[in-house]
Symmetry: D2
Subunit: 338 residues, 4 copies
C-alpha cells in the first residue's frame, strides 16, 4: 500500500477525494490537511460533509494537519484539492520536499515541464516527470485538466484519427463545478448563466496541451483550434456539451471509431469500463441519468449527426476532478514513477 | 377596431393569445374556439388558466365556438394556436372562407406561397399574400416561425450585412416550449435533454426562408447554412442560444452593427423598443432576468467575442409564439392587407 | 430460492422492483408481466428505463408475460406494481390462484382481512393471512401503505409508548411519488402544489390501521387522530414531513425513546440499519442528503423540539413503495407463511 | 410629495424599495444610502441590480450617500433595508435626528414603544408613536414583521373573531427570503432544508404582538399560542404555509368570515384589493401562480378544511418586506404622524 494524503481535505473537492480513497486497493489515506483553524482537530469535527454519499467513518478520528510539507512525511504521494490562490506555492514546496503531487488545481497545468494528463488520452506525457527530476530531486507535480476539458478531450480522443482542425463546444455545466457555495440559488434557479470566468480559455488551451505530442522533451500543442462557449445551467452534477468538429468522414465512420476505440491504459482500479460510452438513443446522454456510469468515471457521447455534431457528458466532480487525480496517481504508481 | 378570433383558445398558446389581446388598441377579440367538448360553454368554465398573468375577466363570459370557419363570420382575422395535427386543414379552410389567418402552427410555414415572417426581419415577404389571392379569394395565411428560429433570426439580422456563410447554434430551451404538460418534471429536473424532436430541422430550414430574398414571385432561400444542436434545460420561459457565425469583421464592427441597427418597421403596438438589446455585461443575457424585456418581445444578445461567438435570448411563448403572430397581424393591418 | 414475479414491471414502481430484486439473496425473479401490447416481447425492448440506477442486464432477455395468474405458475410470490384501477381485481385473482401477493397498490389496504404492514411497526398483523386462508386456499394478499404513511408510521412508532392522541402532519412530497409523467415540469418548477388527491385521507386512515391492535381476529384502529396537510414540492425523491404530536414528555424523553428503540424484526436482507435514524444537527434531515441512508430504507427524524414538533424523512419510491413490499415479502418468507 | 430615502439601497431588499418607490404617488425618493465604499458614486454604478423588474433609470444618476442621519436632511421619512447587525443603532440615530423610520429590520420589532404593524391587521398600534415622541423629539420608528409573520397574521386576521387559542404553522419558504446570496444552489436544489435560523421564534413572538391589544399605553400580547415549523423549499419567491387553528366553527363559517372581512384601512396607494383572497379551487394557492396577485401585496388562502386546516401564501419580498414598509409609511402619512 502507498501512503497518501489530501491537501485541503475539508472543501468540496477534498471531501470527494476522501470519499473515493476510502477502501482504495492501492492507496492508504493517512494524512488530511486543512487551513490553520482546522489543524489539530478531528476530521469529523471540522468537516461540514456535503456529499450525498455517507461520511466515511474510518477517517473521522484522523487529526487534521496543517497544509505544509512537514505534515506529510508519512506520505509517498499527495492529492491537492487546494484553491488556486494557494495551490501553486504549496504544491511546489511539496514536490521540492520529495513528494509526488497529483493536483486538481490549475496553477501548474500549463507549466512546460508539468504533465497535464488524462490517462486514457495522453498517458505518455507522464514522461515529463523525468524532466522535473533532472535537478536530482524525487518529488514532482502531475496535473489533471479543468473538469470540462477532461470530458471534452475524452470525447474527442476516439475520433482524433479521423482528423479535425476546427472544434466548437457549447457547454451546459453543473452548479457543483463552482464549489458548494459558488453559485447562489437565486442566480441559477429557472435560469442559465452564459458565462463562467476563465472556463473558455482553459478549454481552449488545456485541450491542445493534452492532445499535443510529447517528443521526450517538450509537448507540442495539438494543431487544431478550439472555440468554447461556456454556460451554467440548473443541474447539480454533470457537464453536458454540444460539440462540432470538422470531420469529413461519414457518421458511420465516426460511430465505428467510437465503437472500436480502446484506451491505452489497463489495470487501474479507478479506470471505468468503458471509458467512453456511445449511446444510440436519440435523447441521450442526459446528466441525471448518465453521470454515474462507471461510478462517475465514464464519459458518455451520443447524438452523432452529420456536421459533425454530437453530445458529450461527464461527471464534473468525479471524472472531472477528484477521480481524475486518483486515476493519474494510479497510472503513476503502475508506471513506477514513485 | 378589427374583429379577431383565436382558434384553439384553451391551450397554452391560446391562453397567451387571449392574454395579449386583452386591451389591444387595434384588435377586438370577439371569438374563441376550441374542440367539440368545450364548444357552447363559457370560456371561464372550460379553460384551465395556467399563465402567471391573471385571467382576463372580460373574456370569461364569451361562449366558446367550435373550431370551424362558420364560427368566425364576425372576424376579419383569426389567430391560430391549433396543434400541428389539425392546424393545416383548418387554416386552409379559414383562408378559403375569406379570413386572414395568422398562425403559430408549423403546417404551412414552408408552403411556397405562404409568408413566413418576423416583422423586423422580412416584412416584405408579406407580398406573398398577393400570390395567395391570385385565385380571387380574400383570405390568406401568414405564418410565424418556430420559437427558436424567431429569436435566432432576430439575433442574426443586424449583423447580416457583415456576411456569413456558416452558422452554428446550440440552444438551451425552456420547458414551456413543449406546452403545459409536454415535459414531465421527472424528465427535466436536475437534467438536460439534448434532443427536441424536429427542432433542429426547423431552425435550419425556416431560417433560410425568413432571411431569403423575395423577388415579387418567390422566396429564394438565404445562401448560408445553419447547423443546430437543440437542448432542453430546466428553465420555465426563455430560450438561450450560443451562436457561432463566420463573420470576419472585428468584434467592434459587430457591436457597431447591433448598436446602429434599426428595424424596418414602426408604429406597431406590440413592437418592442429596442427589438434587439445588446448587453455589455459579461454574464448577460440570462433568461430569468432578461426574458421580459420589451414586455417579452425584445431579443437580447451579449457576450460578443471573436470567433464570432455570441449569446442570444428571447421569450419563447411571447416573442416566440403568440406575440409573434400578433405582431404579424399588426403589420398586415398597417400594410392594408385586410 | 423463492421464485417471484412482478406485476406491471414496465412502470415506474415496477422498474424499482426489478432493480431491487436483482441479486436478492432469497428471491429469484423469474416472471415480469405487463399489459397486452408489451406481452411476448423482451423486457429490454419494451421498458423505457427511467431510474438513475443502471438497467439490470440479467433481466433484459426475459419475455414479458401478460398480467394474468396463468403467467405466474412458476412463482411462489408476486409483487404488484399495478395501477389502482386494475390492481384490485388482478390481485384477488392471483391470491385465488394460490399466489402470495405483496402489493404496493391501494385497492386492498383497508380490507378487513388484509394485513397492511410495515415490518418494523406491526409485523404481528401478518396473522391476518390465516384468516384469508380460512376458506382453504393457499394464496393471500399483503399490502404496504401509501408512501407518506410508511415514513410517518415509522417516525411515530418509537415514541408511541410516550402516548399521543392528536397528531398533525404537513408533508413536502417529492414529484416521483406521482409516477414518471405524473407531474408536468410547468406545474411544479418554482412552485408548491398544496394538494395531492387522496393523500391526506390515506395518511389519516392507513396510519390508524397500521398502528392499531390485532387481537387474532381483527385489527382495532389506533385510538388517536391524524390531521394531514399534503403538499408537493420540487424535489425528485424523498418525502419530508413536519409533525406535531401531543406528547407531554420532555424532549429528552423523546430523544431517549428514539435512541433506545429496536424494531421487532431481524435478519431480513432489505432491513436497514438503523430503521430510524435520529439527527442532532439543527438542519437535518434533508431529502437530497439523507434519502439514500440504509440504501433508501432508513427513515430519518430530526429537529425534535418541544411542542412536540419534529421532522421526518424517507425515500418515497424505495422505503415508500417497492422496498416496502420486498421487506414485507421477506418477513412473510421468514415467518413461514409461504 | 413627501421626500423619502432608502437606507441600504444596494442590497436585495433595498433594490425592491427603490423599484416600488419609482412613480409612487405620495413619496418622492430623493436619497439612497449604502456602505462606505459605495458612497459618493452613482447608484447605477454601484448597484448590482438583481430583480426581474427592469432597473428604474430615473434613479441611476442619484449619488449614493453614506448611511448616516446627516445624509438624510432632505427627507421626512426613511425606509430601512439595513441588515440586522447595524440596523438597530442607525435607526435609533435617525429617529433621534427627527426622521420617521419605517424599517424591515428586526432590531426594534419587539421594543415596547415601537409599533410592529401590518396595516390591515393592527393599524391602531401606530398610537405607540406618540409614546416614542413623549421625550419631545419628532422622529420615531415603525417596524413591519418578518416576512412569514406578515403572511401568517393576514391569513389569521379575518377568522380571529371565530376564536382560537392554539395555532400550528408549517412553512415552505422561498429562497429569496435569505437575500440574493443567502442560499447556495447546492444547498436547496432538489432539496428541502427544514430549518431557518430564528424564523420560528419570530413567527411565535411577533404574531402575538401584532394581534395583541393596544390600550393606549402598551400592547398586550394576543392570548393564543403559535407553534411554527419553518422549512426552505426550492421556490424563488412566495412563502406557502399549512396552518391549523383550533377553530370549532364549521368550515362554512370560516369561509364566510373570509368572504365578508374588510380591512380597517382604505385609500392607501399600495393597499391591494383584496387584501386576502380566498380560493375555492382544491389546488390553490400556489406560489408561482398566485404570489403576484395585487401586485405582490395580496395574501391568498385556500384549502379550508375541517380541522381547521388551510393554506396561506404571500410574496415574501414584496408583501413580506419592502411593500410592507411602504404600506406602513402610507398609513403613517394618512394618519398625519409626519
Amino acid at each position: 500500500m502507498i501512503n497518501v494524503g489530501v491537501l485541503g481535505a475539508t472543501g468540496a473537492v477534498g471531501q470527494r477525494f476522501v470519499q473515493l480513497l476510502a477502501d482504495h486497493p492501492w492507496f492508504s489515506l493517512t494524512t488530511l490537511t486543512a487551513s490553520g483553524r482546522s489543524a489539530g482537530r478531528r476530521y469529523a469535527d471540522v468537516v461540514d460533509w456535503r456529499l450525498d454519499a455517507p461520511f466515511p467513518d474510518a477517517f473521522g478520528d484522523l487529526v487534521v494537519a496543517p497544509t505544509d510539507p512537514a505534515s506529510l512525511r508519512d506520505c509517498d504521494l499527495v492529492f491537492s484539492a487546494l484553491p488556486a490562490e494557494i495551490a501553486g506555492e504549496v504544491e511546489t514546496a511539496c514536490a521540492a520536499a520529495g513528494l509526488a503531487v497529483c493536483t486538481n488545481a490549475s496553477s501548474h497545468r500549463m507549466d512546460a515541464d508539468v504533465p497535464l494528463v488524462v490517462p486514457e488520452v495522453n498517458p505518455d506525457h507522464l514522461g515529463l516527470i523525468d524532466l522535473q527530476r533532472d535537478g536530482g530531486r524525487d518529488g514532482f507535480i502531475v496535473t489533471n485538466p479543468n473538469c470540462s476539458t477532461i470530458v471534452f478531450t475524452l470525447a474527442l480522443k476516439p475520433i482524433a484519427p479521423l482528423g479535425f482542425s476546427d472544434v466548437r463546444v457549447a457547454t451546459m455545466q453543473a452548479i457543483s463545478g463552482a464549489g458548494f457555495a459558488g453559485v447562489p440559488a437565486m442566480a441559477i434557479y429557472d435560469n442559465v448563466v452564459p458565462f463562467i470566468g476563465g472556463e473558455e480559455e482553459k478549454m481552449e488551451t488545456e485541450t491542445l496541451k493534452i492532445m499535443g505530442t510529447f517528443d521526450g522533451a517538450t509537448v507540442k500543442p495539438a494543431p487544431f483550434q478550439v472555440s468554447a462557449s461556456c454556460n451554467r445551467v440548473p443541474v447539480i452534477d454533470g457537464h453536458t456539451m454540444a460539440i462540432w468538429a470538422d470531420v469529413t468522414a461519414p457518421v458511420e465512420a465516426v460511430l465505428a471509431a467510437y465503437r472500436s476505440w480502446n484506451p491505452p491504459i489497463s489495470g487501474l482500479p479507478t479506470q471505468p469500463e468503458p471509458a467512453v460510452q456511445l449511446f444510440d438513443q436519440p435523447n441521450r446522454p442526459q446528466p441525471r441519468l448518465d453521470r454515474m456510469r462507471g461510478r462517475g468515471m465514464t464519459v458518455s457521447v451520443g447524438r452523432v449527426r452529420p456536421g459533425l455534431r454530437f453530445i458529450a457528458l461527464g461527471h464534473n466532480t468525479i471524472r472531472g476532478a477528484a477521480g481524475a487525480s486518483i486515476l493519474n496517481a494510479e497510472l503513476i504508481a503502475q508506471k513506477k514513477f514513485l
